[in-house]
């Protein structure tokens, strides 16, 4: 029997990513049919809203402030040009011509109609995409390093692992009604770009003393109301046992996670309240008792999946002559090259970060025209492949240095060439109260104001890498807890009020930011950021990043940033 693998839908290069086989295809199509039926039953009243809601959520459909919102999964942030084009089609046909890239590597459409969603899901299925489990109390999109398969510091591409977990967790009969959502991240490089210490489960690809590949398992990290850094629960789980081990963790969580209080229902609370040693003992007991061989993936299956991710053949003869020549002629290009490129494992290649943070723009929002351009440049310059980072930017993973200038020029035509990757204007912001029904304050206008304030490229360069992240409520979807400068939007006396936190870190040196002081009015925020930057520049030694200066000098040094002059000239 021949398992039909989906042929490429475009004439461009076929990116090195997972392609559905007959079974994957059938699954997604069945799911679309199922949801179509559920919508009909909801409209007829056979399903009450309360009964429909978990199914609506498990297909990624939220009801937000102004409309429904559909969150489409982009597994571990990897996207083909074909898929990107279809997202543009969906934006135009069923939405308002744009989409929003999220802090979990997904895309959100803000204006779908319930009655159109089955058709949207059908359009997604046609390009091997879906919105399954992007919401609800189940295992969500497994995220991974957005430089996977390309980074110079990579030990192993985390995406085959992420794909394995994605399949295992899809429509899992036992784990779809967990106490709360469950987020998994995988990293396979020396530097962690997936924030594995801040997830319900973080996996770090490691090798043991015998040189065997396996995973260091971290559990109980998370942000939200009670941010916590995850703890190592197992130094080494052999590759072959990964699914069984995850099953053990999930079974412990499903059985014992709190269900009495929505804000205490994540696994991080269970780890904290149980105690790490007891929690580990419970996992190990379950791991010992369960039928490992019945749960684990076949090593051949892992190999089958991994084969899809073998990177394209890189041109050993690639040069950087054109790249250097272009830099010599164009200061603007130099800025882009210095800021938006990251080291690639192949000689004279680069990973290009396409900033979705134009100065004064909405972080992470991309129009359908921009999506089409991104698809075109991906085909032309990046082997047909794109990534969405959890920093709400797009990544072109495999670009020859000599193509970067032409790419940059193409990006400029679509307002996608902002040279600010990792800089102060590369702000991460959740949709906040402009869109989200959970929000307590707006986040986007704050991002826009700060971005505009610091627009000057020379000043940005002087300040260097500085991550600002903004959340519009305590759920922390903007990841403000792990920002060098975090901003949390709350409500105080009927007005929006913003709290600053400092010293957060999403990497292996994970840290939760510390609150600087009382909340600010919206219009005070840019000024306070200005003060913080001034203090930083004053204290900085050498080319220390903000986070390093902060760690060295301490928070007290930054308190004066909050001082405000009152009318009579005195300070608050």
């Amino acid at each position: 029997m021949n398992i039909a693998v989906t042929p490429p839908l475009s004439n461009g290069p076929r990116p090195a990513m997972y392609y559905y086989d007959t079974f994957d295809r059938a699954f997604v199509e069945e799911r679309v049919a199922q949801f179509r039926d559920q919508v009909e039953r909801r409209l007829s009243g056979a399903l009450s809203e309360e009964e429909f809601r978990p199914h609506r959520l498990m297909n990624g459909l939220y009801l937000q402030l102004h409309a429904y919102m559909l969150r489409v999964a982009i597994p571990y942030g990897t996207l083909s040009s074909t898929q990107m084009r279809q997202l543009a089609v969906i934006a135009d046909k069923w939405d308002r011509g744009y989409g929003h890239f999220t802090t979990r590597q997904n895309i959100q459409f803000n204006w779908p109609k319930l009655i159109d969603v089955p058709d949207i899901l059908q359009a997604l299925a046609e390009v091997e995409m879906h919105a399954i489990q992007t919401s609800g109390n189940c295992i969500r999109n497994v995220t991974a390093d957005h430089f996977a398969g390309a980074a110079a510091d990579e030990i192993e591409d985390p995406r085959p692992t992420a794909e394995l977990i994605r399949q295992w967790s899809t429509n899992h009969p036992e784990y779809c009604f967990l106490p709360r959502k469950f987020k998994v991240a995988v990293t396979g490089a020396e530097h962690d770009r997936a924030a594995v210490l801040l997830h319900d489960i973080g996996l770090r690809i490691v090798k043991n003393a015998q040189g065997e590949v396996g995973y260091c398992v971290i559990a109980g990290g998370g942000l939200g109301r009670t941010p916590m850094v995850g703890k190592i629960v197992r130094d080494f789980v052999p590759r072959a046992d990964l699914l069984a081990y995850l099953a053990a963790v999930l079974r412990v969580y499903n059985s014992y996670g709190r269900r009495d209080n929505k804000y205490k229902a994540r696994i991080k609370i269970l780890v904290h309240e149980t105690g790490l040693d007891e929690f580990k003992a419970q996992i190990e007991a379950e791991f010992a008792a369960l039928d490992r061989s019945g749960t684990n993936a076949d090593p051949e299956e892992f190999a089958r999946i991994a084969a899809y991710f073998v990177p394209p053949e890189f041109d050993a003869g690639a040069s950087s002559a054109a790249f250097e020549a272009a830099k010599a002629k164009d200061a603007g290009f130099v800025r882009f090259a210095e800021t938006n490129l990251s080291a690639h494992k192949a000689k004279n290649y680069a990973i290009v970060t396409v900033s979705c943070k134009p100065i004064g723009g909405v972080p992470g929002d991309v129009t359908s025209a921009q999506m089409r351009l991104l698809a075109d440049v991906a085909d032309k310059y990046s082997a047909g492949e794109l990534r969405i980072s959890h920093e709400q930017n797009v990544v072109l993973p495999h670009v020859k240095l000599d193509d970067v200038h032409a790419l940059w020029q193409a990006l400029q035509t679509a307002g996608l060439a902002t040279a600010n990757a990792g800089l102060i204007t590369d702000i991460i912001a959740c949709p906040g109260m402009d869109y989200c029904s959970l929000a307590t304050a707006r986040a986007i206008p704050i991002a826009q104001a700060i971005s505009t304030q610091f627009a000057d490229p020379e000043r940005q360069k002087l300040i260097g890498k500085l991550g600002i992240k903004i959340s519009g409520c305590i759920n922390a979807c903007g990841h403000h807890h792990i920002a060098a400068i975090g901003i949390l939007g709350l409500e105080k006396s009927g007005r929006e009020s913003y709290q600053i936190t400092l010293g957060g870190d999403p990497t292996f040196k994970a840290a939760i930011g510390e609150r600087l002081g009382p909340g600010l009015e919206a219009d005070e925020v840019p000024h306070v950021i200005e003060n913080l930057v001034a203090i930083y520049l004053n204290e900085r030694q050498g080319d220390e990043a903000f986070i390093d200066t902060y760690r060295r000098v301490g928070q007290a040094k930054f308190k004066p940033a909050l001082e405000r002059e009152v009318e009579d000239g005195s300070h608050l």
């Binding site: 409209l43 402030l65 102004h66 308002r96 009655i115 986007i444 206008p445 929006e496």
Partner: protein, 108 residues
């Protein structure tokens, strides 16, 4: 007759398209300025009863009362900034949401 602390209007969402609705004099409207205003607890209760019928008939969802003040033209304006946003749309995309149909933004 129990006077409400603030006059109120009733918000809901259209089940099919997700848009914000307001209970009007006869059925649901999409412009909050012509929403029916309740001044007493009996009035809001009877409005809730009307809404309950449409909730049960799967036309609307998420029905709740919102405190308003009255503009000089007699239009209801939500007091809380969150509910005000729901009558307008995203604050940085004036081309989207109800505000695109001529509802004015102003200061929230």
């Amino acid at each position: 007759m129990a006077q409400l602390k603030h006059p109120q209007i009733l918000f809901a969402n259209d089940l099919k398209d997700g848009e914000v609705l307001f209970l009007g004099a006869k059925g649901w409207v999409r412009d909050h300025r012509i929403a029916k205003i309740a001044a007493t607890s009996e009035e809001i209760a009877s409005m809730q009863a009307v809404a309950a019928v449409d909730l049960a008939a799967n036309r609307v969802l998420d029905v709740y009362p919102v405190d308003v003040t009255l503009s000089p033209d007699g239009h209801p304006e939500p007091i809380h900034y969150r509910e005000k946003m729901r009558t307008l749309g995203p604050s940085m995309r004036l081309d989207l949401g109800k505000q695109a149909n001529g509802v004015e933004f102003g200061d929230i």
